[in-house]
Symmetry: C2
Subunit: 221 residues, 2 copies
DNA sequence: ATCAGAACTTGACGGCCGTCAAGAAATTCA
DNA sequence: TGAATTTCTTGACGGCCGTCAAGTTCTGAT
């Protein structure tokens, strides 16, 4: 099993000294998942905290009608599983590696011990929760009230802003992007073609998008 | 200012003894809001934890196009504002009293002191967070992937299940229910009429609904 | 009890966007 | 590199549901 480092990646341990980090590092277990493999599924017991050491994981739910909804895209340094570190719960979502991914996990009981010892951890976990909650609130509002066109335009500008560049590669297949935005791959193709026709963006091979007119994109309704 | 009791209402303080509860009770501030009044608005500084002592508060966001999205309906004993008890943040949502409402608040610094003294509080807050997150995840998935008909059917059966009765009064105006489900008052009227026509429910005066066929309602797509 | 205003219902209409299908492009893997 | 598979694009079509409008019921304040 590859010995990838995780602990120093994660903001929730940021207040700790290197000695303490080493202690934690000795507790974690290491896992590797090939692209396309499943990390966890709905109804799995949720008994450990997961840290993405390297790679990309999509977390999604299935609706009653079988359609998929992408909730989070976990990147290097992101964590998941905090939801039930204190109560026995089962997962309600699926996790799937989009690329070869290294993951570290800490068992619930071990993590509870850590929180006893280092109270700063619980405060950091609360902050992670808070950010995730606000992000999800915005996503809910957006999918419930705005058009596909507006949601896509927003997604593009936000992604560009996060990467601090006007030209970037879409980090997801259109199918996954579609389930994230609550629409279909076809609609995304069409709207991107529309934006390009309007001169707002330029599409290049390899899912690369160049933004030509941010202001106009943001006005899209 | 009315001296309503709050502290013993709230699950986050459940592990504490009555003496400690009294201490906390002496810290909180009491507020009263008439029906229709605003408790907080977007961009307000978020510097205290809010406990609903009595009444009902709707928490909603505004989308870029001005449309409203109801995120939570706070009832007696619910709390809000945990999101930023540790980081300086501003609110991103609005809070409005739907009925005359009593609220207690605890300032951020006071709450941080409490968490230092009683670590059980932070664990309880984490659990509240977790529940809210799962609820929001389900809501996101539902509005993004299911039809208005299915969402409404689900809402009716869930509400009935929560109240443990087949006949109940809708706790919201159709306008608010519409923004909760991501649709319009007109569509809700139509779908309820459809359900009644199908014999699945019976509508009675005063927003009262009686469920006749739960199983069939749950099969609605 | 009465009345004004809000909330709700119902109808008509149209557009957004999801679905199905087929061909093009891109990616993967031997 | 080349073939197989997946992903993407584009077109045609139709239905869900949002919008506008007008009438009705409900509510709450005087």
């Amino acid at each position: 099993m590859a010995e990838h480092e995780c602990v120093q990646l994660v903001p929730i341990f940021s207040e700790l000294g290197s000695e303490q980090l080493d202690t934690i590092e000795s507790i974690v277990r290491h896992h590797h998942y090939p692209a396309g493999s499943t990390l966890f599924g709905a109804d799995d017991p949720l008994d450990s905290l997961m840290i993405v050491a390297n790679g990309q994981v999509k977390v999604y739910q299935l609706a009653a009608n079988g359609r998929e909804q992408l909730l989070y895209l976990l990147q290097t340094g992101d964590i998941d599983g905090e939801a039930a570190l204190f109560e026995n719960q089962r997962r309600t979502s699926f996790g799937e590696a989009l690329v070869p991914t290294d993951v570290c996990s800490i068992r619930r009981s071990d993590f509870q011990d850590l929180m006893q010892k280092y109270p700063s951890i619980s405060i950091n976990v609360l902050n992670v929760f808070g950010k995730r909650l606000s992000q999800l609130e915005r996503q809910t509002t957006s999918t419930a009230t705005e058009s596909v066109e507006a949601r896509l335009a927003n997604y593009i500008t936000e992604t560009a802003a996060a990467l601090k560049t006007d030209t970037f590669k879409l980090p997801l297949k259109k199918k996954d992007l579609a389930t994230f935005l609550g629409t279909t791959p076809e609609s995304i193709s069409r709207k991107l073609a529309l934006f390009e026709h309007q001169g707002l963006i330029t599409q290049k091979p390899g899912k690369v998008i160049e933004i030509n007119d941010v202001d106009q994109l943001l006005l899209t309704e």
